[in-house]
């Protein structure tokens, strides 16, 4: 069977990155790495910025609330897909968590400038596609997709 190597869903780049939970020591490190990677793939500034932004918010959430997690990046000619999969307490009420201003952040998280209840809203606003699932006591799974307009954004 022949496979079309230039099929629209062929990954140009795929990798997963470990994120340490419960500490801010390296918070944002994975996002900076992913941003540099996307820049090297010659995606437009806007796509890189939005992908970096949603990755960063998701990474901050893992550092804030989970025991550990991973961020999976997949780039095809049409999409940048970022998945943030954590092992942690999970979210009790997703609708409530999605509300702007709602937060369960601790004082430590607020000291770092976060915990304003904007993270998930920002992720939704800056993604073209966003899905969140969560299981109490197990963890949370975010999937964010940013569309690449080939005429506009390159690749």
């Amino acid at each position: 069977m022949t496979k079309n190597v230039l099929s629209h869903d062929t990954a140009i780049y795929e990798n997963s990155f470990h994120v340490e939970g419960g500490t801010f020591e390296n918070a944002g490190h994975v996002s900076s790495q992913i941003k540099a990677l996307l820049k090297r793939l010659k995606l437009s500034k806007e796509v890189v910025r939005r992908a970096a932004l949603v990755t960063y918010e998701a990474e901050i959430n893992i550092c804030s609330y989970a025991d550990r997690g991973q961020i999976v990046l997949r780039v095809t000619p049409e999409h940048v897909t970022v998945e943030a999969i954590d092992e942690g307490q999970g979210i009790v009420d997703i609708d409530l968590a999605m509300q702007a201003g709602y937060s369960t952040a601790t004082e430590k998280i607020r000291e770092m400038g976060f915990g304003a209840g904007m993270g998930l809203c920002n992720i939704k606003n800056f993604s073209d596609f966003f899905r969140i699932t969560s299981e109490i006591g197990k963890g949370t799974h975010l999937k964010m997709v940013i569309r690449i307009d080939k005429d506009f954004d390159g690749i």
Binding site: R49, A52, M112, M118, F126
Partner: protein
């Protein structure tokens, strides 16, 4: 105006990015809340803030912030400075408070990267 002009207007000390003072800036955003910076700040803007932890640098990197102005004379930790050097994000420190810093820059033509926040808060 250039970062050099910003430095002069604010009587600021350049901690990182002395080689980037020719960079042009036109807009700014000011907040101590990184969540709001992420929601509203635009690429190429100055970030005026009283926060000095490494997350300010990470946030600025993600958003392509042109330079960080730390207000109220607050000085960042060596760790914050190291990260800014690594990611090549200029840090200027001014003794002026946030309100005065914003006013002095506005009077010289720097405007907000967004004027006001209505319904629309998505990217543009």
């Amino acid at each position: 105006m250039t970062l050099r002009d910003v430095k002069d207007i604010l009587d600021a000390e350049v901690l990182v990015g002395a080689d980037q003072l020719d960079k042009e800036v036109k807009t700014a955003f000011g907040a101590d809340l990184m969540s709001d910076v992420l929601a509203f700040a635009k690429a190429g803007s100055l970030l005026l803030t009283g926060l000095t932890n490494p997350q300010v640098i990470r946030t600025s990197d993600v958003l392509d912030i042109a330079a960080i102005i730390m207000v109220r004379g607050k000085r960042p930790s060596p760790e914050t400075i190291r990260l800014a050097e690594e990611l090549q994000i200029p840090i200027l420190v001014t003794k002026y408070i946030l309100f005065e810093t914003a006013g002095k820059l506005y009077a010289k033509g720097i405007v907000g990267c967004v004027e006001r926040v209505d319904e629309e808060r998505a990217f543009s």
